[in-house]
Amino acid sequence: MNMFIEQLLNGVAVGAIYALITLGLALVYGVLRILHVAHAAIYTAGAYVGLFVYRATGSIPLATLAAMAVCGVLGILIERAVYSPLLKYPPYVPLISSIAMFLGFQELFRLLAGPYIIAFNARLPLSDAFIGHVRISAPILIIYVTSTLVLIALWLLLYRTEIGLAIRATSQDRAIASTMGMDARSLISLTFFIGSAVAAIAGILVGMHYNQVYPTMGTVPAYKSLALIVVGGLGSLPGAVFASLLLGVLETLLIGYANVPLPRDSLAFIAMIAVLLWRPQGLFGRKGGR
């Protein structure tokens, strides 16, 4: 039983990480209708920046802030330099450029940081916690605390503040939002900044949790998060979070605990295919919605 609970808690942690990555993707899809594959490269960049700043300063909060800032700016640069000029073309054009950027960034990481796995070796300000006989390791505890805080902060920002209302309005109808006095360009940049900064946090959490940072660490999250926004309902933020948590738990329980003989990473795609077959608008999507 304890084993089951530990696996369940692990699954929620994995799901929380997926949620942090997928949220950025859902936000970007919302305002630009682009599948931002290079988002996973930003996540990897976040892990590297966090790692190097942590080594230089020994401070996790400082490393996180630095990674968020660098990745946020990187996100805006990608939007301004690549996506904006391509928006007038059919959606597959920005998609192809996004995949190209993703691959390019991976090579860049390889050149800059070397083609090997670097250990994060973070000394955490927490020790393992015990609830009864169930052990929650310190990195998982950190994932819980951080992702809860980030999700609450994002929720407050998007649903309680004016800027959040503006972002949601822009993502529902950009043309109308601008006739309502909203500067769509700045809001899109802001959205990229927020999504990318959150991806940086996810990168650092994964780097610490698995104690490794490497150039291709974004590959699996890249396609898995794409599957997840489809499952959640394209552009739906609650859908993205729900689908991510569900997948994290299912992966861990079915494959890690129940030993279902399937490759772990296949579940996301089985879910995506099932959703496309039976509920193409996604779990939280509206029928006929844009």
Binding site: L157, R160, L165, R168, A169, D173, T179, M180, G181
Partner: protein, 255 residues
């Protein structure tokens, strides 16, 4: 110059080889309801898009409140006091009716980054939004998701949303199309009430009876060119208009 709210000066708009609007000039006086009419494809909506900043004209200029606003982006035009509705109604479908109206009510503060991080759901904003919904007669639908409203009420919502900008000039793009007679009368009365508050109105309308009944003056476009301009009565009798609009010999629209 104060009594002129909008001046369109020799505006041309080309898309590739297509001349959607060619050398159109007219002025609108403050407090006036100006009808913009013409057959399909005459360039009316294109002209709206030029005025509201969606397109930058190929040549010519737009003066709003005596200021050259040619090529200003839509959000700047909104700040300056230009509200508009769309031919195809487009409320924010996932927001409630009242939230739809609250979006433009925050206009003055979107420019201020710090204020933008404060709450949007305040009592003052909510009651202001409710007042606008009462004015347009859909206050009882305030908490409904906007995407669920039938067309007539969506049009009223669009009107409330445009009014929330506290515009000096309101552009209405076929606000009456697809509506039943009773609804047309209700919205026509609304438009008159809006004008009584001193808001100028520029409207595109296909329903001649409505357009002629509401407008103080009418501007007629045909194939992107200005065909006629004047009070509804003289335009109605203008042979060039009759010919361009309905073909020779047809006067039935005047009934």
């Amino acid at each position: 110059m104060d009594e002129i709210i909008l001046e369109v000066r020799a505006v041309c708009m080309q898309f590739g080889g297509l001349h959607a609007v060619e050398n159109v000039s007219f002025v609108q006086r403050r407090g006036e309801i100006l009808g913009l009419i013409g057959p399909n494809g005459a360039g009316k909506t294109t002209l709206f898009n030029v005025i509201s900043g969606v397109y930058r004209p190929t040549s010519g200029s737009v003066l709003f409140k005596g200021r050259d606003t040619t090529g200003f982006p839509p959000h700047r035009m909104a700040e300056l006091g230009l509200g508009r509705t769309f031919q195809i109604v487009r409320p924010f479908p996932d927001l409630t009716v009242i939230e739809n109206v609250m979006v433009p009510l925050h206009l003055a503060r979107y420019r201020n980054i710090l204020a933008s991080f404060t709450s949007w759901n305040t009592k003052t904003i909510r009651s202001e939004a409710l007042r606008l919904l009462e004015e347009t007669g859909i206050a009882d639908l305030a908490e409904l998701r906007a995407g669920l409203l039938p067309l007539g009420n969506q049009r009223k919502l669009e009107l409330a949303r445009a009014l929330a900008l506290q515009p000096a000039l309101l552009l209405l793009d076929e606000t009456f199309s697809g509506l039943r007679h009773e609804e047309i009368d209700i919205i026509a009365n609304l438009v008159r009430k809006v004008r009584e508050k001193g808001i100028s109105i520029l409207l595109i309308e296909h329903n001649m009876k409505v357009a002629m009944g509401l407008s103080d003056r009418v501007v007629v476009l045909d194939h992107g060119r200005l065909l006629a301009e004047g009070d509804p009565e003289s335009v109605r009798r203008n042979p060039a208009v009759i010919e361009a609009y309905l073909g020779k010999g047809s006067m039935s629209y005047a009934s």
